[in-house]
């Protein structure tokens, strides 16, 4: 082979490599898109993780903190901020290196304490509240004390409209062979009147009690019946369909007019030693029925899985969320499309509570309380992740969340609250610079020689109370700065004080 031919060969190979390079670049360019992260003012991104919606919850961690270049598709992106909060957004990434932008939001609402006794659930009544659990009698506190409760355990308490609460007293086992049947009462919060709705013929417990926006349902796996308890009365029907079980709890859900069941899901919770039995996954199907006549509305194929412990219908029957072993996945009922997956956690996902027709609150892992919004396809922490270990989200009434929890760090100044906590979500959630009042709660109250600094909450916002001698008020304000808090961010009330200038200036 001559030199000339070698040159020709080199040219052909070079051109081929060049063309391969160009084609590869074009393929990359066509097949990939970018996700650009915009953190909120005053916060930085600590970590970005993401998963393709179909592959969630197993997430990949990105090394970059501002942007990702990933193959086009639908993704769940989880952004951890340096202020102990997380923001999760579902994005569609297009090709041609098109940009999908994420404006990260950061919310921090402050928990207020509810004094009381140690119970699992809490529900507000008449400005006071009732704490209860299934093994002990309920305890009304504050203005709710006017409600005379039964001596037997309250197994459920549920607002079925703005003014009426259904109270269900669970089956009371006197001994192995002698039980007292459950019954339901209706409590009118306006008049204070309690009227018995009726006896419930099946065994009731927290395990087989379900909630919708307007009723409480008891499902009997033994009798294969559902019992609807509402202000209108008690109705029991036989269940004609098959459904999977989570231990002794049927995996069913109730909305306004629809109910949903899951089949083909052989859920095996951890056994005593923490090991998990692993039955072979089989196709799981959610079927939605009309409660009135059990006519079939729709079916959603949720894939081959065996880890679904619960399902939940939105109050308006538009969405359904499944509680899988390590995350929550929401579907649009009409289209059957997957809408939002929450990131995976090291612990099992707990239950969720709907706060409106398209949003729900959920726990994620040991700490962290989140709100998911299915309309905007996002979820975000609503309290500092390091603040509370949430035990149970009892209910959301209006914009107030009621939950039981304990302080995450025993050395922190977060108050232990036996009765539970409330979190007021009525602050403007579009405001991304919400004050971190959690840190204020950790450093107050403070007692100085000539002043005390305390706090209380008004409409969910912290108010600083300063009790200082004349001449010591500047020192008290200076101390608030020393505690690394900016007093100008809060409302401050000086006790026994009138501003002499305001007095004259307002004349």
């Amino acid at each position: 082979m001559g030199v000339r031919n070698l040159i020709k060969l080199a040219m052909v190979i070079g051109t081929s490599l060049f063309l391969v390079g160009i084609v590869s670049f074009v393929v990359f360019w066509v097949g990939n898109g970018r996700v650009i992260i915009h953190p909120p003012e005053g916060s930085d991104v600590e970590q970005i993780s993401y998963c393709a919606v179909d592959a969630c919850p197993v997430m990949e961690h990105a090394s970059a903190k501002e942007s990702l270049t990933i193959p086009k598709g639908d993704y769940t992106v989880n952004i951890t901020l340096d202020n102990n909060s997380n923001y999760v957004k579902n994005v569609t990434v297009g090709g041609f290196l098109a940009k999908a932008e994420i404006d990260v939001k950061s919310y921090k609402f402050s928990p207020s304490t509810l004094e009381g006794v140690d119970k699992q659930y809490v529900i507000p009544l008449n400005g006071g509240y009732v704490t209860y659990n299934q093994d002990d009698t309920a305890k009304p506190l504050g203005n709710a004390a006017q409600l005379q409760l039964d001596i037997r355990p309250l197994s459920a308490a549920k607002y079925v409209d703005e003014n009426n609460v259904v109270l269900i007293y669970g089956t009371h086992a006197q001994d192995e062979n002698n039980t007292v049947n459950a019954y339901a009462s209706l409590y009118n919060t306006n008049s204070g009147a309690v009227s018995k709705i009726g006896d419930i013929d099946v065994t009731t417990s927290a395990q087989n009690t379900y909630y919708s926006s307007n009723a409480v349902y008891v499902v009997s796996a033994i009798d294969k019946t559902i019992t609807k308890i509402s202000a209108d009365g008690i109705v029991t029907k036989s269940l004609p369909m098959q459904y999977s079980m989570n231990g002794s709890r049927p995996i069913v859900a109730f909305g306004k007019d629809f109910m949903a069941v899951i089949s083909g899901n052989d859920y095996s919770p951890p056994i005593d030693d923490g090991e998990v039995e692993a039955p072979k996954p089989i196709a799981s199907l959610i079927t939605v029925y009309k409660i009135s006549d059990f006519s079939k509305i729709t079916e959603i194929d949720v894939g081959q899985r065996n880890d679904i412990s619960d399902i939940s219908l939105s109050p308006n029957d538009a969405w359904i969320t499944i509680t899988a072993k390590s995350n929550l996945i929401s579907y649009n009922l009409k289209t059957g499309k997957k809408i939002l997956s929450t990131p995976s956690t090291i612990t099992e996902s707990e239950h969720l509570v709907w706060s409106d027709d398209h949003s729900y609150l959920y726990q994620n892992g040991v700490t962290g309380l989140y709100r998911a919004d299915l309309e905007t396809k996002e979820s975000y922490s609503i309290v500092d992740n390091s603040l509370l270990i949430v035990d149970y989200i009892s209910c959301v009434i209006g914009e107030k969340v009621y939950l039981t929890a304990s302080p995450n760090n025993p050395n922190s100044n977060t108050r232990m609250s036996q009765g539970g906590y409330t979190i007021d979500l009525s602050s403007d959630t579009s405001n991304t610079t919400v004050i971190d009042s959690d840190s204020l709660v950790r450093v107050l109250p403070y007692n100085g020689a000539t002043f005390t600094i305390g706090y209380h909450f008004e409409k969910g916002k912290p108010v600083i109370d300063v009790d200082a001698r004349a001449g010591s008020r500047n020192t008290a304000i200076s101390m608030i700065y020393s505690l690394n808090q900016d007093p100008s961010d809060y409302m401050i009330i000086f006790n026994n004080y009138t501003n002499p200038f305001r007095k004259e200036g307002s004349r």
Partner: protein
Amino acid sequence: MNLVISKKTVLVAIALLVGICCLVFGTGPLINYLNEKTVDFKLSEYAKSIDIYAEKDSSGGPVASLNTSGTIRLKPGRYLVTPRGDNIITDEIYIEIDQTTTEISVNPYFTEEYLSTAFDADLKAIQEAIYKKYPNTIKDFTLSTGKFYHFGDWYGATLYNTQPFGEIGIDTYGILLHKENSWWGVVGDPEIVFLRASYSTVPEDIIDDVNQMIILN
């Protein structure tokens, strides 16, 4: 092996290469151009010029400069604007251009050095405004040397109580004044601490500075 490449093949290969190059290297700039936004930069009367740097590459040269108000095409993103002029703060100003940005105002304040001397003539009017609003209470207080802010249109100071045994005690107060239509007026009332929520019309940097003045005095 004897490779024969005809002229026609070479020409087709070159045309193909040129076409691919145009597609690959031309599409990017075209998309970039289409992505750019026309932004109207409005410079204040004190800012004589500005340089605009891409935030990610602020150590490199400016991506654009202006000697007067005008429009510039910029890609959406984050930028740093360096203003120049007499007696103004020339610190970098952070801006963000997104799909909705059409106008950016560059309005840097006067330097502290300039503010500390240029507006002394206003002090008499400031004192008169305070005495007029609080003719009685102010008798127990002394106005400390305060500070002008921004364009000399804001003033903050502290008020010492000269009657320590009086009923209102010896707390120190801060006072804020604002000049509008050539007239100085007291903003709200003197306070032990100014709260952002109660004084939402006052720029936050002034609230922070006056609050610090109160506790340091």
